[in-house]
Symmetry: C3
Subunit: 128 residues, 3 copies
């Protein structure tokens, strides 16, 4: 089946859905003056907006690569993270420090997710 692209500009697609798998490019916060909690919430909100657009949701995130610009932000990022995913539905994750392209970005997240079973293209209809 053909892949679906979202947020396509010259340089990149912001999201691609291929079969049941969702690929999301590096997500950062436009709120460059925000602290780590504000930026984390902003990034997660942007991810959710994309997931909903694809027909998925925050319960269907498979993996998140978290890149933090500052070690001191680790706890603040986790405070927002820990209350954002529904209990029992947190994704796999890996978090390291990294120097980001814009020095005002405090974090960047790279996400792989999935379409929920009912929304999966080609899945059998749940009801006749």
């Amino acid at each position: 089946m053909p892949l679906s692209r979202y947020g396509v500009v010259r340089r990149r697609s912001e999201m691609i859905v291929d079969g049941g798998t969702i690929y999301i490019g590096g997500q950062v916060s436009d709120n460059t003056a925000g602290d780590i909690e504000a930026q984390t919430l902003d990034v997660l909100s942007g991810i959710e907006k994309l997931l909903l657009e694809a027909g998925s949701d925050r319960k269907n995130v498979l993996s998140v690569r978290i890149l933090l610009a500052h070690r001191a932000d680790y706890e603040g990022m986790n405070r927002v993270w820990d209350s954002w995913f529904p209990e029992g539905h947190a994704p796999t994750r890996a978090c390291t420090l990294a120097e980001l392209i814009n020095p005002d970005w405090r974090l960047e997240m790279i996400v792989l997710a999935r379409l929920p079973d009912g929304a999966r293209p080609g899945a059998p209809a749940l009801k006749a």
Copy 2:
């Protein structure tokens, strides 16, 4: 089909199996006093334990992202790595330096793997 989660705590799932694909979160060594060879073996052993739990094995690893805290550890990590994967079954990999969250961790690995053909959910039975 529903995804399967392993090692679920508030913050993350340690492994998620979605269809035939296995996502494993960042793996580190608890042996924080160990040298690079000890920590590499520890990380690979932990990955194998997860793979076996999912019904897979070390021959079915698709990609490994290796994050090394110290450049001087590159050769030591490879000494363990090169003897760990069965000949002809090494995964794709990418290795760079990175500052890890715990300064005592010498490496972190992020793994994508697959269920072997016979174990793949929904795969046709091999024998009637």
Copy 3:
């Protein structure tokens, strides 16, 4: 179905195709004396060579993780990148700084791609 490996040596497979998904290990340039534009073009050319070998092409790249050794190379990398992907077919991407294993490498790219629909193993024939 069995996975297909390409470029297998003791340490790694350079590419693995599993179902319709293509995993490519970290790609760097052999032209270690080259500037960022030369190295970027070299890396993208190497990726395309692998994609063609697998039966895919540059229109079917799903995600690229770009690791840059030097912040000053960001614009030069993008100059090559922006003219390389066909309009409307750019992948998702995430770009950060990272210290690479060989100090002469200016960038490294990690790619996930897909087989085009007609080439997808097991896909139903498009015409009877």
